[in-house]
């Protein structure tokens, strides 16, 4: 063998060794030096963390009636990793009747959050699900997830109290993030009512499923699982039966008004609270809406500016309350010693005040009468006189003592209005305003404030904080919250004076009172009728405030039927009559047992 060939073979062998060393060095670099990095990359590759939604806590009425529950529904989601071609998205858009650009936007917006599926549509119909399943192989990356959908078992019952859940907005996510609470863009969140205020209690804690997936995004194994913690259940103070009775009573009266040709009627409120605790037993805002179909009907409901079905009128709307206010100047005058039980004022149907500069009228000529018949017969002149003797400052001060002019303190719903008093605080206040203020005109008072007023008259001046959530229980059934009655204010008036006012209110519902029809109810009702003039309209609001049973009050209430015709005969009285009749009827109560 020649030397040249030997040399060349040695060069070739050297090349073999060199290349082998090169490969080995690179392998050592990858497999030893950078092992951790590539191990993590491989884990990233194969693992996907999937959130497991926690069932939202249920909402019950005080009597255990289930009001808000969860039912399984379908959601269509995308795994961004796999969905790159526009065809899948256009097909989805067509099938779901959604905007293609919206889906793309959604995918873009969620891309960086995690490898979690991006929800495109929730609560999808079974027909759509079937169609997607048929084309499953053509639609890689499209997954159908089962998802719990909020269901309001009794439809519109207590809709304004319960509120509703809806898709979270970007702004809400940021707000929650600022509080250190994490939400996904696909989460639903309480948007109104107790669902909104008690969101964090109801929400529950998301679980995690760590799954292994292959390159096509298909799940191959479950690696680890952290179970979600279901949200806490809430028991409301609402009495489902009473709520239903009250809703029906108000609805029937208003529907009758509308049917009889009243084009202005269509709104009303009822609030019933327990004067012994402040627990709200019924809260009705008419008209209501069905939270189950809210998403579909939202535009229409929001557009109804006249009846505002989405608005909780019991705490957000305020009105003058008319004669239902009259107990206030009455008890103030008694407390101030300006009158006693026997003190009489003579009603001639008209009276002048401020040295003749102010003339005020009564609906009737009542003659000489003391405070009890004055309440029973709703004599304007008597209470004008009381207001005149008190003066605006003392009248305002007493009104404030009963919680008017500021929120009653209900924390379980958001947006309770304060209202305002017809007094010196008003920029356009004039001395003559005193006369209207004395008989409830010109004030801005919510239905809840009036119910609280009734409760304070019934319980002798205790202002309990009104509340809607009685207890909350975690998923194990352990009590985690229990509301205790909270006294916000206690008025120290003489018991005798309370009794005088209560006697007047009892006489309202008897012969000679303004609501004699109510004497036939199964329990004695103490109350006061009211009619609120609505400026420049032929219509007026019909109101009723009171409590029952008169001797041992359990329910304190206020009813307002807006824009009932200005005519003799109250629309509020039939409402409260029907409520009391049904609630206390032996048959109905027995059925409940």
């Amino acid at each position: 063998m020649n030397r040249s060939l030997q040399r060349r073979l040695r060069v070739f062998s050297g090349l073999v060794v060199l290349l082998a060393l090169l490969l080995t060095a690179r392998l050592a670099w990858l497999q030893i030096y950078n092992f951790e990095y590539y191990r993590a990359s491989a884990e990233d590759n194969r693992q996907r963390q999937l959130p497991i939604a926690a069932p939202r806590g249920e909402i019950f009425a005080a009597d255990g009636e289930l009001l808000a529950a969860n039912r399984p529904g379908f959601a269509v989601s995308l795994l961004d990793f796999d969905v790159r071609d526009g065809e899948t998205i256009s097909y989805l858009a067509e099938l779901l009747a959604m905007d293609e650009e919206y889906i793309r936007e959604r995918v873009r917006g969620e891309r960086f959050r995690s490898f979690a599926p991006i929800q495109i549509a929730g609560n999808v119909s079974p027909e759509v699900v079937a169609k997607l399943e048929e084309r499953r192989l053509d639609l890689p990356g499209v997954i159908i997830e089962t998802q719990l959908v909020r269901e309001y078992v009794h439809g519109s019952l207590a809709a304004h109290v319960l509120g509703y859940v809806g898709p979270i907005s970007r702004r809400q996510i940021e707000e929650m993030q600022a509080q250190g609470i994490f939400y996904r863009g696909t989460d639903a969140i309480g948007q109104a009512g107790v669902e909104f205020v008690w969101e964090q209690t109801l929400r529950g804690q998301e679980g995690t499923l760590l799954v292994e997936k292959n390159r096509f995004g298909r799940r191959t194994r479950v690696l680890a699982k952290e179970d979600p913690v279901p949200g806490n259940s809430i028991y409301l103070t609402l009495d489902a039966r009473l709520q239903e009775i009250a809703e029906q009573a108000l609805r029937e009266v208003i529907e009758n008004l509308v049917e009889s040709g009243n084009t202005q009627a269509g709104r009303g409120s009822v609030v019933i609270i327990d004067p012994r605790s402040g627990a709200i037993r019924a809260m009705v805002s008419y008209p209501a809406y069905d939270p189950n179909t809210l998403a579909q009907n939202f535009k229409e409901l929001a557009a109804d500016r006249r009846n505002q079905p989405l608005r909780n009128k019991t705490i957000q709307d305020f009105h003058p309350v008319g004669s239902t206010f009259k107990m206030l100047p009455g008890i103030a005058a008694l407390e101030e010693g300006l009158i006693n039980e026997q003190s009489r004022v003579t009603c001639r149907g008209v009276a002048t005040f401020f040295n003749g500069r102010q003339t005020s009228r009564c609906l009737k000529v009542h003659g000489a009468l003391s405070i009890i018949p004055a309440i029973a017969q709703s004599c304007n002149i008597f209470f004008y006189e009381m207001g005149y003797r008190l003066g605006i400052d003392r009248l305002t001060s007493y009104a404030e003592s009963f919680g008017f002019g500021s929120p009653t303190g209900l924390n379980d719903l958001s947006g309770e209005a304060a209202g305002s008093l017809n007094g010196r605080a008003r920029l356009d206040f004039m001395p003559g305003n005193l006369m209207g203020a004395s008989i409830g005109q010109g004030h801005e008072i919510t239905a809840l404030q009036m119910a609280n007023f009734a409760a304070m008259l019934a319980n002798g001046g205790t202002h309990f904080r009104p509340y809607l959530v009685q207890t909350a229980k975690n998923h194990l059934g352990e009590l985690i919250f229990n509301a205790k009655p909270e006294v916000i204010r206690q008025l120290e008036y003489s018991e005798k004076n309370w009794d005088i006012i209560r006697q007047g209110m009892k006489n309202v519902t008897d012969f000679g009172g303004t609501a004699p029809s109510m004497r036939q109810l199964p329990v004695k009702v103490a109350g006061k009728t009211g009619t609120v003039e609505v400026s420049s309209l032929r219509y007026s609001h019909s109101t009723f405030v009171g409590y029952a049973p008169a001797e041992a009050p359990e329910l304190a209430f206020y009813v307002i039927v807006e824009n009932s015709l200005h005519r003799p005969g109250s629309s509020a009285v039939p409402v409260i009559s029907q409520i009391i009749r049904e609630y206390y009827s032996p048959a109905s109560a027995a059925e409940q047992q």
């Binding site: 060069v11 073999v16 082998a20 392998l27 950078n34 191990r39 292994e212 194994r221």
Partner: protein
């Protein structure tokens, strides 16, 4: 059947190293494919059959004195061209290229056998020119000899195999005595002139592969996806690997592309780690050292050059293929000799080893 002297000269270590690699191959192929086929050993079975056929072919090859081939190289060259031409008319499309002829029971890949044919014909071509490499132009006839079959393969298009031809040619030229500096000049020159030209000729998918090799992060989902996933698989194997048939590996979850063919090394490196990879590389180094040894001992230049050609071919394929899977070479479709699943390649590689063994067996000049 054999002359005793022939048996004594038979290089058993070379054959054993080939067996060892094939055995490893069967293990990795089964590990890489069993999962996706839910336990069906389809690929392993086929590869075993192919191995038996190939081994039979090897036995046939070593039975024919290689010097007999010297006389028929012209016919072999012609047959080679015919087969490559046939691909254009009878070929089947695969992966954007026409490479196979469907023979019913298997797909013949003439470009694989073309490597063997060119080694033999080039060995004669260069043996005849031994010692005539003083001029820089002396290698031009060799270029022409190779460029005809290579050009046809390039046009299939099959860039990987065409490059193997260049490696074979330069390796054999060097061994035949061509001056290293001349060869280097040609390599540099052709790179300068050839690359822009090559760019024009390349198909889109080939360009994408080159681009993605230079900048893999550019589009992690198409071109470079394979290579990135392969590198992740290799790196995540660590020193000892995740184990054969392990769950949750890159290959069992389909992240590793072509896990039983072009990227089989990636599977091996992931499952039996750095240790296993080094064992395989050492097996190849050993195999090549035996081939070089036989080249050195051959009784004539023809034999030496045949062995050099086979060694060049194997070295190039091993280095490029492993280089691709560990991210130091751009992706070109090249199987890993004796490891990748595939009948034509295994058959051809076994036959080329047979040829080398043949040369080794007959290294002693006849004594009578």
């Amino acid at each position: 059947m054999f002359d005793r002297r022939l048996v004594r000269s038979f290089d058993f270590p070379l054959l054993l190293s080939v067996f060892a690699i094939v055995l490893l191959s069967l293990l990795i192929i089964s590990s890489a494919t069993m999962d996706s086929l839910a336990g069906d050993p389809f690929f392993v079975k086929r590869q075993v059959i192919w191995f038996l056929i190939s081994f039979a072919a090897l036995l046939v090859v070593i039975n024919i004195d290689y010097t007999q081939f010297y006389r028929v190289t012209h016919y072999l060259y012609g047959l080679n061209l015919l087969l490559l031409l046939a691909v254009f008319f009878l070929g089947r499309e695969g992966g954007g290229a026409q490479r196979w002829i469907d023979l019913g029971f298997f797909n013949l890949q003439p470009s694989e056998f073309a490597k063997l044919f060119i080694i033999i014909s080039l060995a004669r071509h260069l043996a005849a020119r031994e010692g005539n490499f003083a001029s820089i132009f002396s290698v031009i006839p060799t270029f022409l000899h190779v460029s005809l079959p290579m050009g046809m393969i390039f046009l299939q298009p099959n860039l990987g195999t065409a490059l193997v031809f260049i490696a074979i040619m330069f390796g054999m030229l060097f061994m035949a005595g061509a001056k290293a500096r001349h060869l280097l000049l040609y390599v540099v020159g052709s790179l300068v002139v050839g690359l822009p030209l090559l760019w024009q000729v390349l198909k889109d998918y080939q360009r994408m592969r080159l681009i993605s090799f230079i900048n893999p992060e550019r589009d992690a989902l198409s071109g470079a996806f394979q290579q990135i996933q392969s590198v992740i698989a290799v790196g995540s194997g660590g020193v000892w690997g995740k184990g054969l048939f392990a769950e949750g590996t890159q290959s069992s979850l389909s992240f590793t592309p072509e896990p039983h063919t072009d990227f089989i090394f990636s599977v091996l490196a992931e499952q039996i780690g750095f240790a296993g990879s080094v064992v395989l590389i050492l097996l190849y180094v050993f195999l090549l050292s035996r081939v070089i040894r036989i080249a050195a001992q051959a009784k004539d230049t023809f034999g030496t050059l045949i062995c050099s050609g086979v060694a060049s071919m194997l070295l190039f394929q091993v280095f490029i293929n492993i280089g691709i899977t560990i991210g130091v070479m751009p992706v070109t479709g090249l199987p890993l000799p004796f490891m990748s699943y595939g009948g034509s390649a295994l058959l051809m590689n076994m036959m080329s080893i047979g040829l080398v063994l043949n040369v080794g067996m007959r290294r002693h000049r006849l004594m009578f």
